[in-house]
């Protein structure tokens, strides 16, 4: 049985991507299960989707803990614990990741011995990001090696037909380009050997005791304890204030920021709370002297890591 796990952020179309892949498998004659999983959080939050495909009826249910293929639509999810990108990954698992960094960098960074493939980010244009699901699905179909171009195209037409001809065409183009890109690696994903509980060996990891509840759990009666949730992790672009051009009219950005994540310093200057800024860029669009700029979050983080002022 093929077990495939998609990771993305709410709004990137992972649910649809898993449906397309599932339908493509189905058209290829497989028994299929596909299901998304997400909590109460929506756009920007980590989203999972699972596809199982087998030649015989599938009796397995639930989330996929050990996948044959892990697809990551957004590389900023890798360090997010809640996203669980690396859950159950071993040398057998193939990882497909949407990232400008090379597979070698990811293999070294994550200390994994299995195969890693990357889909370079084509553009910074956020409007193009909505096609990332199609790109991932196209590449995945080729890596699996059992899905034909025709089945993939038909699946896209079936799943996206409602959205009109132009949307289907755009997604087809994205998916088939990625499909062809992975030609050299066709069929490199293999199904896992049957596992049984009887000969399960525990992994050699170090057990850490749980923290005392008073330390690990937040006080539920505390006021505004939601600040403990770092929604800054949602951000793909970072607004940066150029204080040389800031005219100090904090009442614009601080009031319009939907999250109230722009504080005002004693000097009367706005100060963005990057722990909680979700990167909507409303402040960038509204700043009267245009003193707030958007830079890619990964560029900002790389500069921070170098010790520079982001």
């Amino acid at each position: 049985m093929y077990r495939i796990r998609f990771h993305g952020r709410g709004g990137q179309g992972m649910k649809t991507a898993s449906r397309i892949l599932g339908t493509a498998f189905f058209l290829q004659g497989y028994e299929v299960q596909d299901a998304p999983r997400y909590g109460a959080e929506r756009r920007g939050a980590p989203i999972f989707a699972y596809v199982r495909a087998d030649e015989t009826p599938i009796n397995e249910r639930g989330i996929i803990t050990q996948a044959d293929l892990v697809i990551v639509a957004d590389d900023s999810l890798v360090p997010v614990p809640g996203a669980g990108v690396l859950a159950g990954v071993d040398k057998h698992t193939v990882i497909l990741i949407n990232s400008d960094e090379s597979p070698e960098v990811w293999k070294q960074r994550l200390n994994i011995s299995g195969k890693v493939f990357t889909l370079p980010v084509e553009t910074e244009d956020r409007a193009e990001l909505r096609f990332i699901g199609a790109t991932c699905t196209g590449a995945a179909a080729k890596l699996l090696g059992v899905i034909t171009r025709e089945s993939l195209s038909q699946a896209i037409e079936e799943e996206l037909g409602d959205l009109g001809h132009a949307v289907v065409e755009k997604n087809l183009h994205k998916a088939l380009t990625a499909f062809d890109l992975m030609k050299k690696h066709a069929g490199c994903v293999s199904t896992m050997e049957k596992t049984s509980a009887a000969n399960y060996t525990r992994p050699a990891w170090v057990e850490l005791p749980f923290e005392d509840a008073r330390i690990s759990a937040p006080s539920i009666h505390a006021a505004a304890n939601s600040v403990q949730v770092k929604t800054g992790l949602w951000r793909t672009q970072r607004p940066v204030i150029d204080y040389e051009h800031c005219s100090g009219c904090w009442w614009v950005c601080s009031t319009f920021c939907p999250d109230g994540a722009i504080n005002v310093t004693e000097q009367g200057l706005p100060d963005i709370d990057y722990d909680h800024c979700k990167g909507c860029m409303v402040c960038v669009a509204q700043c009267p002297p245009h003193a707030i700029h958007a830079i890619a979050e990964e560029v900002a983080q790389a500069e921070e890591a170098k010790g520079g002022q982001a």
Binding site: G11, A40, E41, R42, R43, G44, A45, R126, A127, D162, A166, A217, P218, I220, A223, A224, N225, S226, V227, Q228, V229, K230, T231, W234, C249, W250, W251, V252, S254, T255, F256, C257, P258, D259, G260, A261, N263, V264, D273, D275, H276, K278, G279, C280, M281, V282, V284, A285, Q286
Partner: protein, 315 residues
């Protein structure tokens, strides 16, 4: 006449520079509802009990986290005003029996989306106004059932595409006039607001706070995923809604409706519609002039009527 003292909020500079509502909520990036709510909360303050009907904003307080500094109660979608009645009664009894001092009294605030306010919660709201319940009602109106994927609601505007209105003409119905429905109950106060007009919003919440009885607020809430636009456009689209006259800012008090911001030169509704994916079918593949003109005419007729009644007032 109800006496309303001069406002504290005369210009943008008077708005609060520290925000009471906690960050770290699971609301979408660029949420127009959250933008309005954090502004509202700065004026209401922490001595409040939020009674929240099911909707996007019930996710504000997901155990164990909450952005509120006061209390919060979750109710079913149709019954937030009934929940508010219970909370108000309980507080009144505690006050009467001197089990809490007057300074511990709290403002009871209903918070619901448009699905609840315009639709399934309307009868409970009508009942609460009928009983002259002393409460504040905040409806964040993103013109559809946003939390479940933007199915149409009683607040969906004509021709908008929703998850349940996917045809080439979009939603065939018309947005319900909830302001007038509420005002017909003759409550203490009814107002429309929007987060992109924060001074107008702060003044209205301030005014509502100074009154007793049912005080009803509808906040138009531009919704990036539901209306299909880039989150950074959220404020711009709200401003266009006001400038085009699609979202009139007004208040009802003492039996009289006053428009608090009349756009001097209304921009064409097209400028508002074309920024949103939910209206894209009006422009592509061909421009549906008939439908755009129909929407424009509705807006023009509304403001013509406003003009007539305002000039009558002056006579």
């Amino acid at each position: 006449m109800t006496e309303v003292k001069a406002t504290f909020y005369r210009r943008m500079k008077d708005l609060p520079s520290t925000h009471l509502l906690g960050t770290g909520t699971p609301m979408c990036s660029g949420c127009g509802g959250l933008e309005a709510l954090h502004q509202v909360y700065d004026v209401i303050g922490e001595k409040s009990v939020f009674v929240n009907a099911a909707g996007c904003m019930t996710l504000l307080s997901v155990y164990p986290f909450t952005p509120f500094r006061g209390s919060w109660l979750y109710t079913a979608m149709a019954s937030a005003p009934a929940g508010a009645q219970g909370v108000r009664d309980a507080l009144d009894i505690l006050l009467e029996k001197k089990r809490i001092p007057p300074e511990e009294n709290m403002e009871v605030v209903v918070l619901t989306g448009d699905g609840s306010a315009y639709g399934m919660g309307l009868s409970a709201t009508s009942g609460a106004m009928e009983r002259n319940l002393d409460f504040l009602y905040i409806c964040y109106d993103n013109e559809g059932y946003g939390n479940t994927g933007q199915q149409y609601s009683g607040a969906t505007p004509h021709a908008a595409k929703t998850a349940t209105s996917k045809g080439p003409l979009g939603f065939p119905g018309f947005k319900k006039d909830l302001f007038s429905i509420w005002a017909a109950h003759k409550p203490a106060y009814v107002a429309t607001v929007i987060g992109t007009e924060p001074v107008d919003l702060a003044r209205k919440i301030e005014k509502a706070r100074s009154l007793k009885g049912p005080r009803m607020i509808i906040a138009l809430a531009p919704c990036p995923p539901g209306w299909d636009f880039d989150p950074k456009e959220s404020v711009e689209i709200g401003k266009l809604a006001v400038k085009s006259g699609v979202w009139p800012l007004k208040e009802y008090i003492d039996g009289k409706v006053t428009h608090t911001k009349i756009p001097r030169q209304r921009i064409p509704v097209e400028d508002y519609l074309k920024h949103q994916g939910r209206f894209a079918h009006l422009f592509e593949p061909q421009c549906n002039d008939a439908l755009i003109n129909e929407i424009q005419k509705k807006v023009d007729d509304y403001w013509d009527e406003v003009q007539k009644t305002t000039s009558l007032d002056k006579e």
